[in-house]
């Protein structure tokens, strides 16, 4: 063992490192040492094992029902990423299946909506992979044909398409931060995602997984800036045609939250009615 490595080990910094008590800067120092000094690397592994053994003395059996709930959620995540990877078994059918849940179809207009939303959902994680995916590509071509058709007959649909194209452009920006907002205990089934652009400060909300509001209510999106709630506008999945909607801009949010409020929103959030929330991970 080199003298240097020995000094570092006895300084106790590695103990702090494995316990997670160092600052980001100190962590990168230690990680550099791990990369260059094998003695340090193996000491870190030993210390991690020790804490791991300590952690494993803690054991508390979750309710047996949780197992299938967790595995179902994992399976959903696995299905969701299929269009992204070139899994041979993945078929076009995967895409409309997602949309069927969110659409109640009266006739052809809604098919077009479904196709546009499918298009949009697929694009969110990355334009490149999506375009590579041939099956969906042909769907896209179809969508564009339909879109052209709709444009001549329905200017409403055309503006919707523009909105979505615009939305897609926004999501592709590398400045965009995704903030998942899982359901709070009072609204476990709810889930919303905020896309916040660090550069332009634009905020978009994805409300696909939000249930309908009770009668007389809207959802209201809040950003928490320096501990204070800032109103970013109301939305209502039943009323709003765009399930991915642009909200007010905000500068330095630490967190986003959605509350249920009387139609039109409230000047300050009703905390007991907070349905989803999520913090920005730095």
């Amino acid at each position: 063992m080199s003298g240097n490595a020995h000094d570092i080990i006895s300084s106790g910094i590695l103990d702090l490192y494995v316990a997670g008590a160092l600052t980001a800067e100190e962590i990168s120092d230690v990680e550099r040492m791990i990369a260059t000094e094998p003695e340090i690397a193996s000491e870190v592994v030993r210390l991690q094992r020790t804490l791991e053994q300590y952690a494993q003395l803690h054991s508390s059996k979750p309710r047996p029902e949780l197992r299938s709930r967790v595995l179902t959620a994992v399976a959903e995540a696995q299905r969701a990423e299929q269009p992204l990877t070139h899994v041979p078994g993945a078929t076009q059918r995967d895409v409309p299946r997602t949309t069927q849940r969110t659409q109640r179809p009266p006739a052809r207009r809604s098919w077009l909506m479904a196709a546009s939303i499918a298009f949009l959902l697929g694009l969110m994680p990355g334009v490149y992979y999506f375009m590579e995916y041939n099956g969906v590509k042909s769907e896209l071509t179809q969508t564009q044909v339909e879109l052209a058709d709709a444009k001549s007959t329905q200017s409403v649909m055309a503006s919707k398409a523009n909105y979505m194209e615009d939305a897609m452009g926004k999501l592709a920006d590398t400045n965009v931060v995704r903030v998942a907002m899982p359901g709070m205990p009072i609204a476990k089934a709810s889930f919303a995602t905020v896309w916040w652009n660090k550069g332009t400060q634009e905020v978009m909300i994805d409300m696909h997984k939000m249930p309908e509001c009770p009668a007389g209510h809207d959802y209201q999106l809040w950003a928490i800036v320096d501990g204070k709630p800032v109103d970013l506008g109301v939305f209502n999945p039943e009323r709003d045609a765009e399930k991915l909607m642009k909200m007010h801009t905000v500068g330095k949010p630490q967190m986003f939250a959605v509350t249920l409020e009387p139609i039109g929103g409230s000047p300050s959030p009703t905390l007991e009615k907070m349905v989803v929330a999520g913090a920005i991970r730095s």
């Binding site: 702090l16 791991e52 197992r67």
Partner: protein, 195 residues
């Protein structure tokens, strides 16, 4: 899990084998759940966080770097960070409501770090070997995400003492596990429920 089994599991995960998650759940859920519960102290919240942890183990599988630490430590970090974020976001809720954080999450109760979850009989034996202040410091850092200076500030302990306590605690833990290998579950293979 035995080490070879862990390697196999990690390989299956990396290769995108969707069936691996139930094995991971069966091997690690009880431990991760206990730790999440220790941090958030609400079973309902702990269940949600455990679910999110497993979803992330899958979606972030490509980020696991075995050169930076063991698989369990990686998963524990995901669970721990999610839990700490949740507690910290409660801080925001508290601010909104003009209540203090302590009212809601009791983040400052030092005794909570020593609270033993009923099932963890194994811990009682260890507690005899590890001074309470050593255990508290490890729990604050490892499970609750405190930095050394946060502990020094909040508990009025000089920074040097924090460091030496951690070092001592780690040495005691290591000695304890060397003497009590039967208490280590890292080398035992568990039987899995079949689906």
């Amino acid at each position: 899990m035995a080490e070879a089994t862990i390697d196999q599991t990690v390989n299956r995960l990396r290769n995108g084998d969707t069936t691996v998650m139930s094995d991971i759940y069966d091997s690690y859920a009880s431990t991760l759940y206990a730790i999440v519960l220790k941090i958030v102290r609400s079973e309902m919240l702990a269940e949600d966080l455990l679910q999110e942890t497993f979803v992330r183990v899958w979606t972030q599988r490509e980020r696991y770097d075995s050169s930076k630490g063991t698989f369990f430590t990686w998963m524990l970090n995901i669970a721990r960070n999610l839990s700490i974020d949740t507690i910290r976001s409660s801080t925001y809720k508290a601010n909104l409501d003009n209540r203090t954080v302590d009212d809601i999450v009791g983040i400052d109760e030092p005794e909570s770090s020593d609270r033993i979850i009923p099932e963890t009989v194994d811990l009682r034996d260890l507690v005899k070997k590890l001074a309470p202040e050593q255990r508290q410091i490890i729990d604050l850092m490892y499970f609750r995400g405190y930095t050394q200076s946060e502990i020094a500030d909040e508990y009025g302990i000089p920074l040097g003492t924090v460091k030496s306590r951690v070092r001592l605690a780690m040495q005691n833990l290591r000695t304890y596990f060397d003497d009590n290998p039967q208490n280590s579950k890292t080398t035992t293979t568990r039987t899995h429920d079949t689906q």
